[in-house]
């Protein structure tokens, strides 16, 4: 059975990266699993699970010609992984405020202490160079309930960070 590898690729963004890379993986008989790809600060970043029947070195050799031609840094890790192991988030938290050092660690630190297990986080810096605005969206699991997270966020509010929390009530039907 094929093993799972985590591929990390980062480099200057340009059109066609995903198509070229996935074509090379397809040609080499790889299976794609879960993936997250996104443009961050003018770079294109990819993290993807790849099922491959061979060693990390061999997989690296398959991808290296493509990643080099696209000027992407490549990293390959054999990982202990499986598909169909999703954890369902039960809370969504949005945060925004004037960008300043420590805002992320302050907020995520308080939330972690209140039982939040982060499953998905994306953040952005908007506004302008002179007055940047930090925006963050988190989905996670509230291991100690919603109320303790609300209390943690209320403290943030007092420090000038806007927050909102919404329970995720997933419908099954």
């Amino acid at each position: 059975m094929a093993k799972w590898f985590m591929l990390t690729l980062v480099g200057e963004d340009r059109p066609g990266i995903v198509a070229k890379l996935t074509h090379a993986l397809f040609e080499a008989g790889c299976n794609l699993g879960e993936a997250s790809m996104m443009r961050l600060g003018g770079n294109f970043t990819m993290m993807l699970m790849v099922g491959f029947d061979g060693k990390a070195k061999a997989l690296n050799d398959v991808i290296a010609p493509v990643s080099e031609s696209l000027n992407l840094h490549l990293h390959v890790d054999e990982i202990n992984a499986a598909l169909h192991t999703h954890l369902e988030p039960d809370v969504r938290i949005s945060v925004y405020g004037a960008d300043r050092t420590g805002i992320v660690s302050e907020v995520t630190g308080a939330l972690a202490e209140s039982g939040l297990h982060i499953l998905d986080l994306e953040s952005d810096v908007a506004g302008s160079t002179e007055s940047p605005l930090y925006i963050m969206h988190i989905e996670g699991h509230a291991a100690e309930g919603i109320d303790s997270l609300r209390a943690a966020l209320n403290l943030m509010q007092d420090r000038g960070i806007e927050t909102s929390l919404e329970e995720i009530d997933t419908l099954l039907g």
Binding site: H86, S94, D169, L171, L172, G173
Partner: protein, 167 residues
């Protein structure tokens, strides 16, 4: 009573529209009972539609009363349902017995009025809000051959949905 087999996408029949129910006989009532037993066999499942078990008739069951925080009409047998009024839109997370191991965000009307026949064929009128309205819309979609996958919206860049600015 029997637990029926759930069809799972990519079975193409899930994308086919179902037909109007015209016969309300004992066999039909037995089917409704089996359909609800099938729903109840899946933990947390609040709705099911006949085409999910391979019967292409316009019948769906919805019951969100299991969680007391949801406003609810209780157990609803919806035969030939029609939504006659819609209001508001909200994004919410949905999953489906026919699409295992995936959930996604879907926009749905926040309150609806619907007309449907009951198990005896008598027309009933229901007002549904929030989670129950969402469940009804999800099930009626099944009758039209639509899955929540057809209506996914991005998980990213959510708005601050809880903030309501009054005029």
């Amino acid at each position: 009573m029997a637990i029926l087999d759930i069809l799972v996408f990519p079975d193409p029949v899930l994308k086919q529209a179902s037909e109007t129910v015209t016969v309300f006989d004992d066999e039909f009532k037995q089917f409704i009972a089996d359909l609800d037993e099938t729903r109840l066999s899946a933990p947390g499942c609040v709705g099911i539609a006949a085409p999910q078990v391979g019967r292409f008739q316009r019948v769906a069951l919805v019951d969100v009363s299991g969680n007391p925080k949801h406003k609810s009409n209780g157990y609803m047998v919806l035969v030939n349902p029609e939504i006659v009024e819609w209001e508001g839109y909200k994004k919410g997370r949905e999953g489906c017995l026919s699409v295992p191991d995936y959930t996604g965000n879907v926009m749905r009307a926040t309150s609806i009025v619907l007309e449907a026949q009951d198990v005896e064929g008598v027309t009933q009128r229901y007002e549904c809000e929030g989670f129950e309205a969402r469940a009804v819309q999800h099930e009626i979609d099944h009758l039209d051959g639509l899955l929540f996958l057809d209506r996914l919206v991005s998980r990213r860049n959510d708005l601050f949905e809880r903030k309501v600015y009054k005029k």
